[in-house]
């Protein structure tokens, strides 16, 4: 399966991932309404079911989802606490806008190309081989320019059955649910803590999913956090319940 076909069933959208990305860029669904955490969960569940990881597909997923997450988080987070070099919501709008405009340009260009293609489709070219006497000439003038090893190697590629996918290294154990629980447990023990101190010993994937979970808790109003400089320590603090 490809990233494109990842099936999603979200509040505001049901269908393949491909289509979700497309409708966001085409402004048919607001990025703010899309629960990206669910998208990640769907992908991780898919990996769990399939038990195999295609590196190129996974990379593409990460690139696309990371871009969406970045844009969405900038749209969501209040601008006041931003560092000067970070983009605020307005800049985030500009960036999303720039991407939409870029996409529009090529969508329009593709329309023009299709018209050209349709117009040119009726012209047919001749593909008959040369008359014998002329073919002779071409053969006589020919010298060796290609290496037969290339053919052998291509044949070898074709003979190779696809390798059995080794799934031992991708036992997918990181679930967003579980990371949410880990965060809540930690917060239950003490009202504030340092991210690295608490989770620094986990592998990178776990840390990344924990960060997603943190975004989710922030959205629900359960936590706040502070990071005074880029790459600096992240201090997580239980949100003060104001009305409950």
């Amino acid at each position: 399966m490809t990233v494109a076909e990842l099936d999603l069933d979200l509040d505001v959208f049901a269908g393949p991932f491909d289509l979700l990305m497309a409708v966001v860029l085409r402004e048919e669904v607001s990025l703010l309404e899309v629960e990206l955490g669910e998208v990640v969960v769907a992908y991780v569940e898919h990996l769990e079911r399939e038990g195999e990881l295609e590196l190129e597909v996974a990379t593409e997923f990460l690139v696309l989802i990371a871009a969406l997450l970045e844009l969405k988080s900038r749209l969501m987070l209040p601008g006041a606490e931003e560092d000067a070099e970070e983009l605020g919501p307005e800049e985030a709008v500009e960036e999303l806008l720039a991407r939409m405009l870029e996409y529009r340009r090529y969508r329009e260009a593709s329309g023009a190309l299709v018209e050209r293609f349709e117009a040119a489709r009726g012209y047919l070219y001749r593909s008959a081989s040369l008359p014998t006497e002329l073919r002779r000439v071409a053969v006589e003038a020919a010298t060796a320019v290609y290496d037969p090893e290339r053919l052998g190697a291509a044949l070898g590629d074709l003979l190779a059955a696809p390798p059995e996918v080794d799934t031992s290294h991708i036992r997918v154990t990181v679930s967003l649910e579980r990371r949410l629980r880990a965060l809540r447990d930690a917060l239950a023990r003490r009202p504030s803590f340092d991210f690295d101190e608490q989770f620094g010993g986990e592998d990178r994937l776990t840390q990344a999913v924990t960060l997603f979970a943190l975004l989710e808790l922030y959205r629900k109003g359960e936590v706040t956090w502070k990071q005074s400089k880029p790459f600096g320590p992240i201090e997580i603090r239980k949100a003060v319940a104001s009305n409950s």
Partner: protein
């Protein structure tokens, strides 16, 4: 019809690929000027609607093609299926490759916002684009082929329309920006 014109017509008839003016001059042992003049006359003789065959300038050279008016009869005779139309995904991918080439697949995905694996693969299978190497990060990079220029009736890539023609109008842009800002504000002040 001049001898040179006849010879050029014969060469274009025989060659399966478009032939450049320079190659025509070399083969006919004529000067570039003479070839250009003969081509000009041939272009009139074989203009649209004159005969069954027309002169086309494609992919950096000249080529003979059958007149589109005879397409239907040709399909009946040769039992050739019509080239399938391009899907929207293929057309967008092709537009990005055509304008930005050489371009990598992740770059295509970034612009389209969707994984473009199968569109890229189909276009490569149809011979419209081809791999032209690898990026620094090992991603395959693509460019359009000569067949692309032939099938789209382009004498060369510089004949693609200026992409700025396709830019959204300032009004569209302003409207879109306002809509996005408004959505952001609503979110920020619950």
């Amino acid at each position: 019809m001049s001898d040179l014109g006849r010879t050029i017509e014969a060469l274009l008839f025989l060659s399966a690929q478009p032939v450049s003016a320079a190659d025509l001059a070399e083969a006919t042992e004529a000067t570039a000027g003479q070839v250009a003049e003969a081509i000009e006359l041939l272009r009139e003789d074989l203009g649209e609607g004159r005969r069954g065959v027309v002169l086309r300038e494609v992919a950096g050279g000249f080529s003979l093609a059958s007149d589109p008016a005879s397409e239907e009869a040709a399909r009946r005779l040769l039992a050739k299926p019509r080239t399938p139309p391009l899907t929207q995904a293929q057309a967008e991918t092709l537009a990005i490759v055509a304008y930005l080439q050489p371009v990598s697949r992740p770059e295509v995905a970034r612009i389209r916002g969707v994984s473009s694996e199968s569109a890229v693969q189909t276009l490569a299978e149809r011979g419209l684009i081809e791999e032209s190497g690898r990026s620094r990060f090992g991603a395959a990079i693509f460019k359009t082929t000569e067949l692309f220029e032939r099938l789209f009736g382009l004498a060369g890539l510089d004949q693609l329309p200026d992409p700025s023609r396709f830019d959204p109008t300032p009004e569209d842009e302003r409207e879109l920006r306002e809509r996005l800002l408004k959505a952001g504000e609503q979110r920020a002040e619950p």
